[in-house]
């Protein structure tokens, strides 16, 4: 006699099976058995792992595979360095602009704005590497603030200068900054994903 069990019924039954937990003190017993030994990691292992590690073209420790805390920190520092250079370029350029007698309210503050962003990212990067445990939410919030500030800065600058052609120069810069923000957010997100990829 057929009872008409469907595969959905079986899935549902499995969902309702109790979760099996290891006995109490499991972790302690594992650690006791490990004792004072250390993982085997001979020079030969290092050489073998170097040549046998999975690699891809966009690899070189960049976005492929799992992202480490140190890598995340370096990405922040590199972005900080980028803004530092942008700040230097602005400083030089503004000297030339001011010599023509052209004056605006907001434009003169662009080097300071860039240097402030540079310092912020450098601090983020250093704290990311140095901290023992990382508050992912805080860094994500920081990236949102950065993207918001960049957009507001571009809008204010456009209104301040009031020259239509400036928008064409600001647009790629703003889009580039948003892409940087997205990239950092993506990196942080990837970093935070490597924890517990199962539900039960």
């Amino acid at each position: 006699m057929k009872t008409g069990i469907k595969t959905e019924d079986i899935r549902e039954m499995i969902q309702k099976t109790p979760v099996i937990q290891p006995p109490e003190g499991f972790t302690d017993r594992v650690m006791d058995q490990i004792g004072l030994s250390s993982p085997h990691y001979s020079p030969a292992d290092k050489i073998v792992s170097f040549f046998t590690q999975s690699r891809s073209l966009n690899d070189l420790g960049f976005l492929a595979g799992n992202i480490t805390k140190r890598q995340c920190g370096y990405y922040f520092i590199f972005v900080g360095l980028f803004y530092f250079i942008v700040g230097l370029v602005f400083s030089r350029s503004l000297e030339a602009v001011s010599s023509t007698g052209y004056q605006t309210m907001w434009l003169p503050y662009q080097p300071e704005f860039s240097f402030a962003v540079a310092i912020g990212f450098a601090l983020f990067g250093i704290s990311f590497i140095a901290s023992r445990s990382v508050s992912i939410g805080l860094y994500k919030f920081g990236i949102f603030i950065y993207v918001g500030l960049v957009i507001i800065n571009s809008m204010v600058l456009q209104m301040d200068m009031n020259i239509p052609v400036v928008a064409f120069a600001l647009l790629p810069l703003t889009i580039g900054s948003v892409i940087i923000g997205w990239f950092l957010f993506y990196v942080i997100d990837r970093y935070s994903h490597n924890f517990i990829p199962y539900k039960r």
Binding site: M13, I14, T17, P18, I20, Q21, T27, V30, S49, T68
Partner: protein, 184 residues
């Protein structure tokens, strides 16, 4: 949300901070233990196999490719140990634990959640699961008991994505047939 990446922990362990390995054991003992229990049907064997998995992983941590996911690597070690164990014929019927008055499972099985499904049907499900071939059982345990993604299942089993999906669906269909036979 305070978190520490698996690779950071592994790097620290390799650099000599052995105690941090306990974080990885704590994080993954559940799924490894469940795998061993569902595959062997014995709580005691699952305990031994899960411990052995973590010890083997620790010993070979230096060979772990940090561009892979630690969990899938660990799970692969666990699965290989379970396979060897089952091959040696050390499997014990799942009913042994279900009937064992002293089993730590006893309390879990009497939970309110469990009362929603009859004991009899759960018994049938366990019996049918253990009547599946090892490959199909592995696929069912990974996909439905542990809710691993098909990508993870493919990586752990060394199959292509489509082959992993096919195996899961074949396992589910076979389990349904066995359940029908059992309850019919």
């Amino acid at each position: 949300m305070e978190e520490k990446n698996d690779n950071d922990i592994i790097q620290s362990v390799l650099e000599g901070d052995r105690d941090l390995y306990a974080l990885l054991v704590d994080a993954y003992k559940g799924p490894i233990f469940t795998l061993a229990y569902r595959m062997t049907g014995s709580y005691e064997d699952a305990d031994d196999l899960a411990q052995e998995t973590f010890i083997r992983a620790f010993e070979n941590l230096g060979r772990f490719d940090q561009k892979r996911t630690f969990f899938t690597w660990l799970y692969t070690i666990g699965l290989n140990l379970v396979r060897n164990h089952v091959k040696r014929g050390k499997r014990i019927s799942v009913l042994k634990d279900r009937e064992d008055r002293h089993s730590p499972l006893r309390d879990t099985l009497s939970s309110p959640e469990h009362s929603m499904v009859s004991d009899q049907m759960m018994g049938h499900l366990d019996i049918c699961l253990h009547r599946l071939s090892e490959n199909l059982k592995e696929a069912i345990v990974m996909r439905f008991y542990q809710e691993l993604s098909f990508e993870d299942i493919a990586q752990i089993s060394g199959l292509s994505l489509s082959a992993a999906k096919m195996r899961v669906y074949r396992g589910l269909e076979k389990l349904r047939e066995l359940m029908e036979e059992q309850t019919g």
